[in-house]
Symmetry: C3
Subunit: 233 residues, 3 copies
């Protein structure tokens, strides 16, 4: 983002601080999953770095901004590594990891759906594409974390509270603000806080999306063991 | 593909209709896997969109066509979302999902191995690279679907009928037609129908590729439980 | 890499031979995992090709070198396919596959952390970014192999000897040599051999990274079955 000077250097600094906060939060979530999975020090650092930088790298590769900023500037991997070391030395017991993991993930989600949309818009994308890229930035790191860590992505899991909706809300709000030329840092911060808030409310109140209606459920008919003739691997 | 006008706008329309049909078919297959996995409404939409657009995004990123068309034009994600909603409201019982899933996947495979090859060739790639990219387009969405859905990709599974071969046949035929300047829409449609047909025949007749010869098989020697000292995850 | 002529064509030939050796070694490792997983002939070829070319494609996409060399030149997929066929016809019993797999992987790791760094540096990247891309090249193929094959990546597994460290050593050494203008083919070969050697020593001597300190371990407290309330997929 070094070349995006139209907002001025002070504004850029704010933007960069936001980005680094998002990197830090996602790195914490990756490191906590690694602790939960009993990975060792290196596994913790690697999973933290991949989670923190994955969404942004995905966005930059799709935008065509090569090399991605994460490869260009020391401070991104450094921040993620520091977060991983922090968790390595100081973390809750494995059985209580999930709450902090979800919270760190929600912070990263709130920040990245705004900065991802902003970055894409500044590269000349129309508002709706920028919003889609904001969602990719916000959700991408978590999907990479979950795939590498060997669990079904939170984005998809039915036992998981709504995840895509807050990202979409934050990204769409940011894109609308930019499109109508109403974007300010405070407005962006509000959009991010809104996305974070919706995610936290969803976690607290167990908001879930509706399930597809099962057909003619009979005794034991729909249990995975019985009804899974596809024989996954 | 908006800039590829050399075939004329009527021809482009045909191409676009083909592409959208492929997107629709792959989205159906992703939504059906999501239903099978008991994902909720959002999981169904997300998996459908990732399956439908994943192969094309992969191709465009590899080609260097950024942003990928899927981020540029509303109709791609919209078509995939509509397919997901259709399946959310109307789908076979979970235990009978596999047949329709395989069929939708075969339709997408047949279409994308042709349109993927065509798109790469129109971007100036030599025929053999274009064919490789056609295979990536056709197989990529399914691999992303299966990874996100937590199963071993159909492309690899030994209990799965041959999958890569029909994609290769369709892509190589299209590339050859383009190389020798024989490509017409009818020829392309035939190549796609051929790939679809080979895949359906493989499913119906249970064509499978040969297994690697096991060594000195003894009683119980090669069972996964016993012979797996590698201790996966 | 066809356009990188500053080292002269003889030097390029050496570089290319190195790259192909790395492709061959990683393809062997992918094919062996496929045999271990009881994939069929097509699964073996596909996994070998994805493992062998995945790291380089990832690097090229991140660099912005599109199309990736693997799509441009026959000899890369051809070498990988030949390695797969070799393993299809001639491989150790499944239960003894892990040693050769680790060894082939170590050869690929040693080669790719050098050639990946070199390639990024030749594209004008600063030394530290080039080293990061060398690690991505060396580790990427293995991560793709393990994800497609359905196991937690070696890069992360706690029961797996240190993997990222040798790649980092080889890439950082190469980047330092290039930065201080001391790089020669012999120096590069030494850096690669060093990375290979550290990896093999780690395997032989069971070097592992430290684990995060568990909290207040009680009887059965930290066993995955009991302490995993997160309910993965």
């Amino acid at each position: 983002m070094a070349d995006l000077v139209e907002f001025g250097s002070a504004a850029d600094a704010v933007q960069n601080v936001g980005d680094l906060l998002g990197v830090f939060a996602f790195a914490i979530s990756g490191a906590l999953l690694a602790v939960h999975k009993r990975f060792d020090l290196i596994g913790i650092v690697v999973l933290a770095v991949c989670t923190a930088l994955g969404g942004g790298i995905l966005r930059d590769v799709i935008i065509g901004e090569t090399p991605p900023v994460a490869f260009d500037q020391w401070r991104y991997p450094l921040t993620a590594t520091l977060a991983a070391l922090l968790i390595f030395f100081w973390h809750p017991p494995r059985r209580f990891v999930r709450g902090p993991l979800d919270m760190a993930d929600a912070v990263g989600l709130g920040i990245f759906c705004v900065t991802g949309t902003l970055s894409a818009y500044q590269h000349g994308f129309p508002a709706h594409s920028a919003a889609a890229l904001g969602v990719v930035t916000a959700a991408g790191g978590g999907v990479i974390r979950d795939l590498l860590g060997g669990r079904t992505p939170s984005l998809l899991r039915p036992d998981e509270e709504v995840y895509a909706i807050p990202a979409l809300i934050g990204a769409a709000t940011t894109a609308a603000l930019l499109h109508f030329d109403l974007y300010t840092y405070w407005a962006g911060a509000l959009a991010g806080a809104g996305a974070f808030g919706v995610r936290v409310l969803a976690l607290r109140l167990h908001w879930r999306a509706p399930m597809a209606r099962p057909h003619r459920r009979r005794r034991g008919d729909d249990s995975p063991e019985v009804a899974d003739p596809a024989g996954e691997s």
